[in-house]
Symmetry: C2
Subunit: 322 residues, 2 copies
């Protein structure tokens, strides 16, 4: 389908060219393309006034339900695959020889910059929750090309508890529960205790729920553990790993499953502290392979909203649903 | 520019095809096209994570500043020309012989369904405001094809006062000040008293202001009088008319000026009630010429937000800027 010839072909250029000489170059590129695509969309589907007004109400509803700890705009982007796409554009690495490191996927809205450093072998479980299955997670970080172990990388891990909620969604969890940063040792190894992850639904009481129901899609995310792996010489990897038996792998509501991130949890017999074992090995690419080697580190919605300082949640007046 | 081949060509179809069988047909068309265009936009400009997050914050800010009497989502659409485009798609009439009636333009966010009927020759000025120049406005409604006068059409008129504010933006104005509905007489004639319109700025304290400054564009609207003309047999015309000497005609922030809507205000000598005279004649097309003859009448943001019942504004605590 292309632009319908019934309509004034000069209108969209007129709107784009209304930008004045003081528009920054990059803003002109981005807004020019965005306006063109929004106009092409409206002509392509012959958007009616009533449909457009539904869209206006929908856009307004996104900000109206957002709070410093609920970023519905971010969530809507996830539901339409935009965060995954932006991640691919920014971070996909394929060398001329066709080599790729461990896959990157979206950050999501729940990363915190404030996770504490912990010692290798420690647990990130500060608050035990019923149904939580303790897992001993371990692996090795290696250079994608040489296979050499990578020492001193920071592995930042975060996950929801067995109720599917992250610390700042759940007044019953202490700050930084199920969060921690670890450094790989001289052999590139890392290990810690965490939970087997739990699948959860996106909040469906807001615009994301409206959109998912309209599209007849599941709000579920497959169970996952988030990781962010950084090192001065290597391209950062942000990803999520998924149990291979999770029933939601093919219907992830935010389109963040990649084949190399699906992992096997196995029974663990020899450790009184854990019932499951997870081996997860990671390869990193030198920064020179990254399409944007100096790209800024991500800012979490949390960090952006709170100015980096977490405000305590009042347990007597918790947010109803983040 | 087209999609960059560096990126997975299967991703967008995967997201679109995630819609389930319960998706209504029209929603599938609209959302499929919208997702495709948003993805194409992101690939075309290689949208970075930081730019995307600015966009997320921007989207959230739209709803956060909106209230029952401030529809910032509607305003943002106007600033990018989307309401004008949707209006063209819905309402543009050109017969096979190339005839068009008086132009339609956007409704804008300030129409109210509650304007009272007034008698021909009455004034819509309930509250005189300093600087308001009273105008005797008159004209004839005719059939576009036959030139026959059209009796019994309803002309619904609304305008901002001399301070550039509409009644429900301004606690000093009474409800329905500068609003009124009139019926054309047996000769198709109409006449009333109103103000010469005053140019005004869109509110710039919110996202529309952010966007206009980024685009180095004026927030001004040329002075205008709104009209909505309805009749059982004729296609509705919603338009705005503009004084020919207004300096903002070429930089209208919402792209709603059309040549046939630019009018001449002339000095009036023979009427103690008015200092200016405005003749404005209108042609209407039979409904059969309209591309959507049975399209629903527009709903104002006002009507949609308030359920049709205006809530009084507390003059001791007025909204800072609507």
């Amino acid at each position: 389908m292309s632009t319908n010839a019934r309509f004034d072909p000069n209108f969209t250029p007129y709107v784009v060219n209304a930008m004045g000489p003081g528009t920054p170059d990059r803003a002109r590129v981005i807004l020019g393309s965005l306006i063109k695509h929004i106009h092409d969309f409206a002509r392509e589907v012959e958007l009616t006034p009533a449909e457009w007004m539904m869209g206006v109400d929908f856009i307004n509803s996104i900000g109206q339900i957002s709070t410093p700890i609920r970023n519905e705009g971010h969530r809507i982007c996830d539901v339409i695959g935009l965060e995954s796409l932006v991640d691919e554009i920014a971070n996909r690495i394929v060398t001329e020889q066709g080599m790729s490191p461990t896959s990157n996927v979206i950050l999501g809205p729940f990363w915190s910059p404030n996770a504490p450093f912990r010692e290798l072998g420690d647990s990130i479980i500060q608050d035990h929750k019923e149904g939580g299955r303790v897992t001993y997670m371990h692996g090795v970080l290696k250079d994608m090309e040489t296979g050499a172990p990578i020492e001193g990388a920071v592995l930042d891990i975060w996950q929801a508890s067995s109720n599917g909620q992250y610390d700042f969604q759940d007044p019953s969890q202490s700050e930084n529960n199920l969060r921690g940063k670890f450094k790989s040792d001289k052999d590139g190894k890392f290990n810690w205790y965490c939970y087997h992850p739990t699948p959860y639904s996106l909040p469906t009481d807001g615009p994301a729920g409206v959109l998912l129901r309209l599209m007849d899609r599941s709000p579920m995310r497959p169970a996952h553990i988030h990781l962010m792996i950084t090192h001065p010489e290597y391209a950062t990897v942000i990803n999520q790993i998924y149990p291979s038996d999770d029933p939601h792998l093919d219907i992830d509501s935010v389109f963040a499953v990649k084949d190399d991130l699906v992992v096997e949890f196995k029974p663990k017999k020899d450790d009184p502290k854990a019932q499951l074992d997870l081996e997860y090995n990671v390869t990193l690419a030198l920064k020179k392979h990254h399409p944007n080697p100096n790209s800024a580190p991500p800012a979490s919605s949390f960090e952006r909203s709170m100015g980096g300082a977490k405000k305590p949640i009042n347990p007597n007046n918790p947010p109803a649903n983040l």
